[in-house]
Symmetry: C2
Subunit: 367 residues, 2 copies
């Protein structure tokens, strides 16, 4: 009846989850708190404060949603889009495609603006796609391709539209300034650069978007109006009403991960991600491999590299896992067999992790 | 920058979360696995197998959804109900009310059938409420009132309707026979009698419901058709396609909690809940307190008790927390100040927990 396999400890160098910070793992083992315990509500309030720092926002409504990053995407759309609303979506990878699907399920008139995978979205083309959309949506850091798009430029062009941004692979790893850049709705995940296990979606919404939100979203679980009664993190105290049972262990882990990041300093953490990514990308190129993402738009925390001619992409991943306990990711969509994705996120954004994955790849590829 | 408050260890005797089994907490600290790692997929498959046992089902599509129990409710409705479908809901507490709200957001024509809080639903009245509903929905164990309803009898009367059941406070604590009773769609939570932290929704759907499911639900995140590609737990192997990043630490905890339960024996665990609840309920009555739930329909795992005349319900809860680190729950809805809810779930379904909460209540109430 017991689980017969021994535990394995992996180097999680794929597109996520990455290995958590030890502080986050330790917090999962703390005594569990009830979701209405004053001690937990204090922890939740601090978590929301810390999230504001990594989002670069003063938004009062900044919180961890009780589901993974993809539910964050759904929360973004169900709370802003009603049937017939026009939504312009920049599509330069899998997560842009997913945005179109999710927005369409809200009844939106979706205008996808396509770009080659491996390239960033062009903010001007998004702005020109429709004279007056309700929402312009784009992915800051495309997890499927390892590409960074210029959200700041998009914010300058958004006009009356709400700017909805996927920051799943951005938050805590690259520069992210929600307020300065004019992000109205943002969602992220915990399992990438924040160095926390998957299970929560850090979320933020501006006053401007809040005022224009859907009053009764099709989702009860992700209805921000109902969630607000529980969160109430404006400091006025009082009515912390029950909505659903918050995943208290996961919130404790997020709190601990965020404290680890803020103790190091957010700028230092971002610089560490930049350095590890540079080392990895230089090393891959020295090995004679070709990077997939367009130069100038490459994410440091998630590197995409082309599988060399004649090499079995899956066999290499299997050997890395078997020999070295190293997980790297396959490519996404039509690049499943022709691209690898290598993430150095959270605690793995380090020189030793970069050297380890390079050494293992050299050994397997015999380069 | 560090969290300034010391950790507190609570006796979680409220309506949930309860204290987790130590095996579940320990599993949260295991090395994190990626959601596509063969070792994790094996763990997930075992978890689904174990879930089938606690659900009492052979349903192939039995899995932990990546959000809390309330998202399980939403998954139940978005996958079975389309605009105009008739949904009959038994409403004898907060969670029946919530079902009406969630079903209405799917465009259902909702027929609520009301019962006094503290009493079970009458299956015949539900069956008589409409000649041909698409769905009949009811709560097996009403967390808001501590009442058990007769799902078996409802299954015998359901006719052509799909039977959708909330088993959040039932699973792993009282008898639950999804297949024998004709449950077509069931959802639960991990944080009650399963003794695992909150964050996942154990879910099961019959072939009959699967064939009549909504082809493109309004929720992408909870679309069982898309989730099926990742789960694929029919043993045929092959296409485990990415849907979203599973909360791997939480799944490991659920796996460990379920193994703990199955090692003890599900019947023994249910008997342990029954015994602890009986001790508690007898002790409360010996203390001169009056139980809220109707005799004959009282849940053993969640006991509701009336606040004595002249006693400040919140002050008592506060003193229990401060003096004894004991959390009990307030009543729900209009009974917030006149009822307490005391849960003895998972590892807390024990003689010592029953005696502890009784002793603490005696001390605070001076009885």
């Amino acid at each position: 009846m017991t689980f017969s396999q021994p535990l394995v400890a992996r180097h999680l160098f794929g597109p996520g989850p990455g290995n958590p910070y030890p502080e986050a793992t330790a917090a999962l083992g703390h005594p569990l708190l009830g979701h209405l315990d004053p001690a937990f509500l204090a922890l939740m309030d601090e978590t929301c404060d810390h999230l504001r720092q990594v989002w670069g926002t003063q938004n009062r409504r900044t919180l961890p949603l009780s589901a993974t990053g993809s539910a964050g995407m759904e929360a973004g759309f169900v709370n802003t889009v009603e049937p017939g609303d026009v939504v312009v979506v920049g599509v330069n990878g899998l997560f842009g495609q997913r945005m179109c699907d999710v927005a369409a399920r809200c009844g939106a008139e979706v205008i996808p603006v396509e770009f080659d995978w491996g390239t960033p979205v062009d903010p001007q083309r998004l702005a020109d796609a429709h004279p007056n959309p309700k929402v312009i949506a784009a992915v800051h850091a495309e997890t499927s391709t390892g590409v960074r798009s210029d959200i700041k430029a998009l914010g300058e062009l958004k006009d009356d539209a709400l700017l909805l941004v996927d920051a799943v692979t951005a938050i805590g790893g690259i520069e992210l300034k929600a307020d300065d850049w004019g992000i109205d709705v943002g969602y992220a995940g915990t399992q990438k650069c924040l160095g926390v296990p998957p299970g929560l979606a850090p979320f933020t919404i501006s006053e401007r978007a809040w005022e224009r939100r859907v009053q009764k979203p099709q989702s009860w679980y992700l209805d921000l109006g109902l969630l607000g009664g529980y969160l109430d993190s404006d400091g006025t105290g009082g009515g912390r009403t029950y909505h659903h049972t918050a995943p208290t262990a996961m919130v404790a882990a997020l709190h601990a991960g965020l404290e680890r990041i803020l103790a190091e300093g957010l700028d230092a953490v971002i610089a560490r991600h930049a350095k590890a990514g540079r080392l990895l990308q230089e090393g891959l190129q020295e090995m004679g491999l070709e990077l997939f993402a367009q130069e100038g738009s490459r994410l440091p925390d998630l590197t995409t590299v082309k599988v060399p001619e004649g090499v079995d992409a899956g066999a290499v991943r299997g050997e890395l896992l078997e020999r070295f306990n190293i997980e790297i990711g396959a490519g996404a969509g039509k690049f499943a067999k022709s691209v690898w994705r290598i993430g150095l996120m959270g605690p793995n954004a380090s020189e030793d992790s970069a050297e380890l994955v390079l050494a293992a790849l050299r050994a397997v590829l015999k380069r």
